[in-house]
Amino acid sequence: MIRVVLPQHLRTLARVGDEVAIDLDGPATLGGVLDALERRYPVLRGTIRDHVTRRRRPFVRFYACEEDYSHHPADTMLPDAVVNGDEPFLVVGAMAGG
């Protein structure tokens, strides 16, 4: 079980609280978590990654254990602390604009 923290606008959109718990079928990769998140909450499709290219939207960031995973490939393994549920995987709206 992986804990995912979403930015406020996506919590509102998905009608969830501060944190969601995601069960993975396969390896705990960056792409695997996002796939599972979108399966569980289809309304998030297209809001974190582009529908067609599957690339991260430019103003969205991925953090875990104080590391920036935003530029890592989809098959990057997430740290054990995230896989174990000790630390959350953070989806962050970049600081920009007003």
Binding site: L10, L13, G46, I48, H51, F59
Partner: protein, 371 residues
């Protein structure tokens, strides 16, 4: 008693303003989708409680919201707008080819007869349609496949398809407008399109009379006379009496013929409204006086309407989607400003009152006349 519902899209959410037929007291609900840009909301003529809203943000992209209860509750529906086939390129600001990339929905136009069928005008300019109430969207590729598509270039606001008009007498005939490509018409339900820009003249493009490349800001028609079109171009107010095949200028005595909105009185097909804006580099009313101009002669002769509107120190803009009329008698006219005001007139423009004053910048206003 009949009533009016205004659907107001702003830079930071949507608002629903409701009144009875007197149009004196308004109930305000919102913000819906607070913090998101809402470019447009529009209700189905076949089921006024069915409303579609375009919610978007620079962070999280496009979301489409649908209400089945007149805007009280909302459900997010499909937001995948995928261009048909290999998207190809259009022209970028610097003249180089640029791949078509979906950015947002500018306009929803629900079918007059089927609440589940809606057309969507998007940026980068293309026309999409849903027939399942917004769950899935499919491009009508004939428009972007028009031979000129590779030469379309964005205006300052992006390469956006912002106006969709369905001929009330013939659902196979539609008009669309794209900044900065121009106006197009289909006579076969969207399979093929014809550029309808003859008579337009734009000084800002290399060939002022080009077939495409004109920055059309808005077109409007009266349902009883779908061959008569009115256009607010970047500069120039134009009119066509032949379904867009040819246009002629009707700016007449306007103080400036730059502007964004244009609309037609609900019961008088020759009565039209614009809001003159000082210039393309100064997007506010001339002399700091906010005035709607009305022509009762289908153009050429215009009268200023400023009663109830600020007549000094006013430097707001009125964007292209931000004017609408209701179908009551006398006709109600409404418009929203980038200063967050929504003004309404229940006497066809003779006098105005501010319905709300302090919303976020208003992007769009639609009026629904309720039974």
């Amino acid at each position: 008693m009949a009533g009016v519902r205004l659907l107001v899209g702003t830079r930071k959410g949507a608002f629903v303003l409701t009144s009875d037929g007197t149009r004196r007291n308004w109930d305000v609900s919102g913000p819906h989708f607070g913090g998101w840009e809402v470019y447009h909301l529009k209700g189905s003529p076949a089921d006024p409680d069915r409303i579609y809203a375009s919610q978007s943000s620079g962070w999280f992209g496009q979301v489409v919201q649908r209400s089945d209860d007149g805007g009280r509750t909302w459900e997010a529906v499909g937001n995948a707008f995928v261009y048909d086939g290999v998207p190809g390129t259009h022209q970028w600001y610097d003249g180089t080819p640029h791949p078509w990339e979906f950015k947002r929905v500018w306009h929803f136009e629900p079918s007059p007869t089927d609440p589940d069928t809606v057309y969507a005008g998007v940026e980068d300019a293309a026309l999409f349609r849903t027939t399942d109430g917004g769950r899935t969207w499919h491009e009508l590729p004939g428009l972007r496949g028009h031979g000129s598509g590779a030469h379309w270039a964005p205006g300052a606001g992006g390469l956006c398809l912002h106006t969709i008009l369905i001929d009330p007498a013939d659902a196979n005939r539609m008009f669309v407008a794209i900044s900065a490509a121009g106006a197009f018409r289909t006579d076969d339900g969207g399979a093929s399109w014809k550029a309808i820009n003859r008579g337009l003249r734009s000084e800002g493009i290399p060939d002022p009379d080009a077939e495409v490349g004109h920055c059309v800001h808005r077109i409007a028609l009266h349902p009883s006379r779908p061959d008569v079109l009115f256009m607010q171009k970047h500069w120039d107010v134009m009119r066509s009496d032949d379904g867009g095949d040819t246009w002629h200028e009707v700016s007449g005595n306007l103080p400036t013929d730059f502007g964004f909105v244009i609309d037609v009185h609900a019961h008088e097909p020759e009565t039209i409204y614009v809001v003159p804006i000082r210039s393309d580099s100064e997007h506010y009313p001339p002399d700091g006086r906010l005035r709607v101009y009305r022509s009762r002669t289908g153009g050429h002769e215009w009268e200023p309407l400023g009663k109830g509107l600020p007549q000094q120190h006013c430097y707001v803009n009125v964007l292209r989607e931000a004017m609408a009329v209701d179908r009551l008698d006398p006709c109600g006219v409404y418009f929203g400003t980038t200063g967050g005001q929504v003004y309404g007139s229940s006497d066809a423009g003779d006098s105005w009152t501010a319905i709300v004053r302090d919303l976020p910048p208003v992007v769009s206003v639609e009026a629904q006349t309720l039974p």
